[in-house]
Amino acid sequence: MLESVMSLMEGFSVAISPMNILYCFIGCFVGMLVGVLPGIGPTEATALLIPLTFGMEPVSAIIMLAGIYYGGMYGGTITSVLINTPGEAASVITCLDGYPLAKQGRAGVALKVAAVGSFVGGLISIIGLALIAPPLAEFALRFGPTEMFALLVFGMSMVVGLMGKSLVRGLVAVFIGLLLALVGMDPVSGRIRYAFGVNQLVSGLDLVTICMGLFGLSEILVGMENLYIHNKTSSVNSSRLEKGEMRPTVMSIIRGSFLGFFMGLIPGTSSAIPALISYSMEKRLSKHPEKFGKGAVEGVAGPETANNSYVGGAMIPLFTLGIPCSPTIAILMGAFMMHGLTPGPTLFIESPIVVWGTIASMFIGNVILLIMNWPLAGAWAKVANIPNKLLYPVVLIIAMLGAYTVSNSLFEIGVMLVFGIIGYVLKKLEIPMAPIVLVYVLSEMIERSLLQSLKINKGFSGLYSSPIALGFLIAAVLILVLSLYAEFRNKKTDFLNDSDG
């Protein structure tokens, strides 16, 4: 353990050389920029910067690429908060409370809290990485297909039970997501389903396009209803936490840090899952659950922290077992290999400087983002003050470009238009849209892990013979029952309090 701390110090001495800080800064800056532009993700940005990393030291190259990733994540947060358009699955949750905050003129708060949360989450997961990595990685391996399926069902029940006002409308959203995800290649046998001979549907509908449509375009359509009314951005425009918000926010950041870290250890998860679970957890624990969805600061802080500390946790299986846990880590792994380094247990022994340099630079990347965004948060928040009549058309074109970029075809813009209209109708009917997107992301994993579990155990026996799986499934049922109960109870109080009906 002391050894790890020493190595980490050594890593820091590499990472804080002026050149490496510069690379880290470039990475963060470019990442943030592409994060704000929809459709162009960290992968494309990495590719753009690859020519620059030639001739660089491996450590510097990886530092810059990690910077892009962090910057990109934060950029996604910015668009979620300001224009209610998540660029990736992990920031779908951020929309739920980030956007209402922005509407109240408190976008600055949301952005600052997200930056601080990311920083703390990153810090705690790095400490965890340095201190307790190997035994945890061992434990995480106990998550096989069966446990994974149970975890996903648990995650889904969280989505339904704790989001939106009505259980049945939440379920409708979940099943819209599940049905849509069936389109395209079957993840197990490779059979093409529900494509009806349309070439673009063979690989399924694209998540970015769906997000742009359901969240971005539908928001614009609602805005178009009354473009002539000036936006009522409140004059508050504060980027400070109010009294009484401090404590829950700090607590949510701490809880999010640990949650994200442990979720990162589990192979095959995605950063959307810790964000989702953190949000539900905060809502459960909050003294004012009714504020969630209307601008609760904890609703931004917790998930943003969790999806950041997730990355640190996900580094552990990579470094100790050579397993890339998430797509992002896989990209980093690619970067390692391009520079002739094999991820896995030997990496610690053969190139400790690179490993610890990278870990240290992840930390420094977070510091840079924090420094960059503290003053910038206010500036970004001003975007929310641009009059709608100017902002909406601009966002519309950018969203269309983002969808186009997905497959470089106008077909995607058409798909986005369809989802925009669907999203508009769903908004009116108060069917929550976050579950659609989240379930859509998880669906492939759900189907695959279910089929694998059924085949390994020759039936459903795995679901009750594995204590981990059984635990998750019981929790899932409990959540559904509890939220059904809560719904009925709230209905009654609603009737009592609300004389307007």
Partner: protein
């Protein structure tokens, strides 16, 4: 006024960045004019992904353009390959072509046939290895088979997808040894190896390179490799034939572009591939990962893939795997 100035600053920042980026893209009339994408139809971290990433850096040097690697996993390679097949035949979208392409039609995995692509050339041979957890009660292939005979249909073997070469390797071993395995499909070799490490399955029959870090970590052991001769990188591991089972099977990796790509583009890519496979970095990289460097050009590979198609179609129909 304050508001106006800030948005002006923001606007300028966007414009300047745009100009900086504009500077990156060089202008030339000849292929390649802009970046090239290699689509890997499997998860990041697997053998095909690693090969593509290292070859991308080599091609990049030869062609003077960025070569991106994108993972489109799913459907035993079907998702990624269909996407490339549907793309413009201009040489800018390349698919990593795994051995599985010759089986897609027979196994009804997808409607992909070998005629859908023009081939830039072959890069690697990928041997299969039977790997089990380090604490498993069997030390040799014979022990393993005996165990499987005592527990018919219960021994689970992970592979990288229905009809993947590793799935066929396991089935072929089962046929030769007269036992029945329970084959579990994963979406790539890496998740299968992860499940093996966690003890959720009993064995994997994936490429030896995929299990190397697990072996080094002391979590896994290789019982035999399915090549003709022992791998010099692992001289202690016996071949399947030495262990008494006549199983020689392996994969290979090639690069292909959609049918109808102009001949001069194909030639240029093929020449670049030949140079990129000849570098020391590439051969070090490939050998370390339990694979074998094997370049063959467009014409030779066209003959080879025909033979492979025939070999596997026969094998599959004999094994009654084929549809």
């Amino acid at each position: 006024m304050e508001k106006v100035r800030k948005s002006y600053v923001l606007f300028m920042a966007v414009v300047i960045t745009a100009l900086v980026f504009a500077g990156f893209s060089s202008v030339s009339a000849e292929f390649p004019e802009h970046e090239i994408t290699i689509v890997v139809p499997f998860n990041a971290g697997g053998a095909s992904d690693m090969t593509s990433r290292i070859i991308a850096t080599g091609l990049q040097e030869e062609l003077g353009q960025t070569v991106l690697v994108v993972n489109k996993p799913g459907g035993s390679g079907g998702v990624g390959m269909s996407e490339v097949r549907a793309s413009k035949p201009d040489g800018y979208t390349i698919s990593y072509i795994p051995v599985e392409i010759v089986m897609h039609e027979t196994l009804e995995l997808s409607d992909i046939v070998i005629e859908d692509f023009d081939y830039i050339g072959q890069m690697t041979l990928v041997p299969a290895a039977l790997t089990v957890p380090a604490d498993a009660p069997y030390e040799t292939v014979q022990d393993f088979i005996d165990y499987a005979k005592e527990h018919p249909g219960e021994v689970t073997i992970g592979n990288s997808g229905a009809g993947s070469i590793w799935h066929i390797a396991a089935t072929l071993l089962g046929e030769q040894a007269g036992v029945e395995f329970n084959n579990i499909m994963f979406d790539g070799a890496a998740p299968a190896v992860t499940a093996l490490m966690g003890g959720h399955i009993d064995a994997v029959t994936v490429n030896s390179g995929e299990v190397l870090s697990g072996v080094q970590a002391g979590k896994l052991k290789i019982l035999a490799i399915m090549t003709e001769e022992r791998d010099p990188a692992m001289p202690d591991v016996p071949t399947m034939v030495e262990s008494g089972f006549d199983v020689i099977i392996g994969g290979w990796g090639a690069l292909g572009v959609p049918k109808g790509t102009p001949a001069e583009v194909l030639e240029k890519l093929s020449a670049a591939l030949e140079k990129a496979t000849a570098t020391k970095e590439f051969s070090d990289f490939i050998t370390q990962r339990g694979m074998i460097v094997h370049y063959s050009n467009t014409a030779d590979f066209a003959v080879f893939i025909e033979e492979q198609s025939e070999f596997f179609t026969n094998l599959l129909s004999n094994m009654e795997l084929g549809g």
